[in-house]
Symmetry: C2
Subunit: 321 residues, 2 copies
C-alpha cells in the first residue's frame, strides 16, 4: 500500500487537480455511477471532539474508501495542532484490501474550495465582474483563491461577523491583483457571485442583499441547525447541491424545506448540470444557489488524484502491508 503524508500534499495537489476530481465525481454521482455511504458523526465526550466517517464508492473511477477524523476544538490552543484533523483511506474495490492512506487536512480545504468553484463555472453568469465573500476565516481564503479563477472578476467585496479578520481576504486579493473592499451586507447587492463560508447558526445574507442574476455558493452549512442565508432566498433561487439527501437534511436547504418554502424536488444535483441533463442557469436575471454540503466522494476523488501525483513524483511511501 502507499502512504502520502500530510506534509507532502501542499506541494502535490493543485487547485486545478482538485477542481477536475470534484467536477468529475459530482458528474458520476448524478449519473448513478458513484454513491456516498451514510455519514457517521459522533460527539465522543472527550476533548469536546466530533469524530466520524464519510465513505463512498465511485464505481466509474474505481475509488472506494472513507475519510475518518473530525473536529478537535482545543487542538490549536492546547497543542499547536489544527483543529480539523482527518485521514483518507482508500481500498481496492476488487479485493477489499487497503491500498492507500492520505493526509486529509489540506485536501479537505482544497476540495471544499473546488466545490464552490465548480458551481461558479457551471452556474454563474459568464460576465460576472464582482465577487462577494461572506466569511473571512482560514477556509475563506481557499474559497476566494479558487473562485477568482472562474471568471474575470474586477473587484471583491467582503463581509465578516468579525471585521478584524477581513485582512485575510484582502491579502489573497492583493496577491491576485484584484481590488478588495469591506462592505456591509447591503453591499452584497453589487456582487454577481457570492461565496458564503461561515459556521453560523443564524442567517447573515438576506434575500434583499442579493441582486437578480447572482450566483450564490453556500459552503458552510453541514450540520442540522447551521444556517448562512435567509430561507426565503432559496425560494427565490434555483437551488443546486452536491447531494440532495444531505442538502435537505443537514445543508442550507434544510430550513427552506422545513418551512415549506421549497420542496425536495426543487433541489437539483450540480452533476446534472455538468452532465447536461439539467440546463442550469436559463437567464441573466435568475438567481442560482449552490448548497455545498460536502460529501465523502469529494475527499476520495481528490485523494485518488493525490496518490497518482505522489507516485509520479516519487514521494509516496510504500509499505508492505
Amino acid at each position: 500500500m502507499l502512504i502520502v503524508p500530510e506534509r507532502e500534499i501542499p506541494d502535490l495537489l493543485t487547485r486545478e487537480a482538485s477542481f477536475a476530481a470534484v467536477e468529475k465525481v459530482f458528474a458520476a454521482m448524478d449519473a448513478g455511477d458513484a454513491c456516498n455511504f451514510p455519514v457517521v458523526r459522533e460527539a465522543i465526550g472527550h476533548e469536546d471532539a466530533l469524530y466520524g466517517f464519510k465513505g463512498g464508492f465511485d464505481r466509474k473511477g474505481g475509488v472506494l474508501g472513507l475519510k475518518a477524523g473530525g473536529f478537535w476544538p482545543h487542538n490549536m490552543e492546547r497543542r499547536q495542532l489544527i483543529n480539523h484533523q482527518s485521514t483518507v483511506f482508500l481500498f481496492d474495490p476488487d479485493t477489499g484490501k487497503v491500498s492507500a492512506m492520505v493526509g486529509g487536512n489540506y485536501l479537505t480545504a482544497l476540495r471544499t474550495a473546488a466545490a464552490s468553484s465548480v458551481s461558479i463555472r457551471h452556474l454563474a453568469r459568464k460576465d460576472a465582474k464582482v465577487l462577494g465573500m461572506i466569511g473571512a476565516g482560514h477556509q475563506a481564503t481557499f474559497q476566494l483563491r479558487a473562485a477568482l479563477e472562474q471568471r474575470d472578476f474586477e473587484r471583491v467585496v467582503g463581509w465578516n461577523y468579525h471585521p478584524d479578520m477581513l485582512p485575510n481576504l484582502a491579502k489573497v486579493c492583493d496577491e491576485a491583483g484584484v481590488p478588495f473592499q469591506a462592505v456591509d451586507l447591503d453591499g452584497m447587492t453589487e456582487a454577481d457571485v457570492i461565496v458564503s463560508i461561515t459556521s453560523a447558526f443564524a442567517p447573515s445574507l438576506m434575500a434583499d442583499h442579493v441582486a437578480p442574476g447572482t450566483h450564490i455558493a453556500c459552503m458552510g452549512t453541514d450540520t442540522k441547525g447551521k444556517q448562512e442565508v435567509e430561507a426565503q432566498l432559496l425560494a427565490r433561487a434555483t437551488v443546486f447541491t452536491d447531494e440532495i439527501a444531505q442538502s435537505i437534511s443537514i445543508g442550507e436547504a434544510q430550513h427552506a424545506v422545513a418551512e415549506g418554502l421549497i420542496a425536495e424536488a426543487d433541489v437539483h444535483q450540480i452533476g446534472a448540470v455538468i452532465n447536461g441533463t439539467h440546463p442550469g442557469r436559463t437567464s441573466n436575471e435568475e438567481i442560482t444557489l449552490f448548497d455545498g454540503t460536502g460529501v465523502g466522494l469529494q475527499d476520495l476523488a481528490v485523494s485518488a488524484a493525490i496518490v497518482e501525483l505522489a507516485k509520479a513524483k516519487g514521494v509516496a511511501i510504500e509499505v508492505d502491508f
Copy 2:
C-alpha cells in the same frame, strides 16, 4: 504512526490477549465507558462485495477508531485471497490524528472466538463436560479452540449442514486431546455448552435439542434475516448479548423480539455479568444464551493490544505520517 501488517499478527496475538481485551471492553461498554458508533454496511454493486465501517470509542481504555472492510465473496476463487478483508485504524483521542493501522483479518477471527469464550467463562456451569459445536467452517475452528480452554471438557459433539466439513473440528479436538463425535442435532441434548457459528438464514438448533442447564453461544447472526436457533429457545433461556441494540435488530434475538416471545428488556449485556451488576446464571437448570453480534469495540480493543505487543517485539513499522 505505527503499522502492524497482517502477516505479523498470528505470531503476536494470543487467545489469552484477545480474551482479556474483549472481556475488558464488554465491561467498559456496560459501565458506559465505551460506545460503538452506528454501523455502515453497504452492498457496493461490484464483485458482490459488502463493505463498511464499525467504529467506536473506549473512553476508559483511550481507544478510538474503526474497522473498515467487508466481504468479497469471489476473492478466494478469483485471486487466492481470503474473502473477509478488513483493516483497523486507531486514532489518538486527544488530537484526532491517526495513530496506528493494523491488519484486521486474523484478529477478527480471534476476537469472535474470544466473545463466545467470555460468555462461557461467565455463564456456563462450572462442571460442564460436553461441548457441542454447530458449524464446522474456518471460523468454527477458532471458536472451538478458544472454548476448550474455558472448562474441563471431556468430549466434543459436532454437527454441520455439510457433514464433510466435520473433520475441521475433529482435527482441533485431536490436537487438544479431546474426543470428537459427529452427531445429529438431537445429539446436542448431551452438550453442557453449545457454540453455534454458521451463516444460516433458518434455524438449525431447536429448543428441544437443548437440555436444561446448557449455555449456548450464538455467534453467526450479524445481519437482518440470519438465524441459527429456534426463536422459542430464547424464550426458554436467559438471554445475554454484547450490545442490546444490535442483538434485537441484527442479532439472534431479532426473531424472538419480532415474534413477541421476548422483549428488549429480557436481553442483558454480558458486561453487566462481568461487572457483577447482573447475577448471570442462577441455577444449574437455567438455560443461558449469549447472542454474539460482533461490535467494533472488540476489534479496536484487540488492535490496541496488538500494537502494544508489536512495539514490545519491535515489529511495528513506524511511518512519519
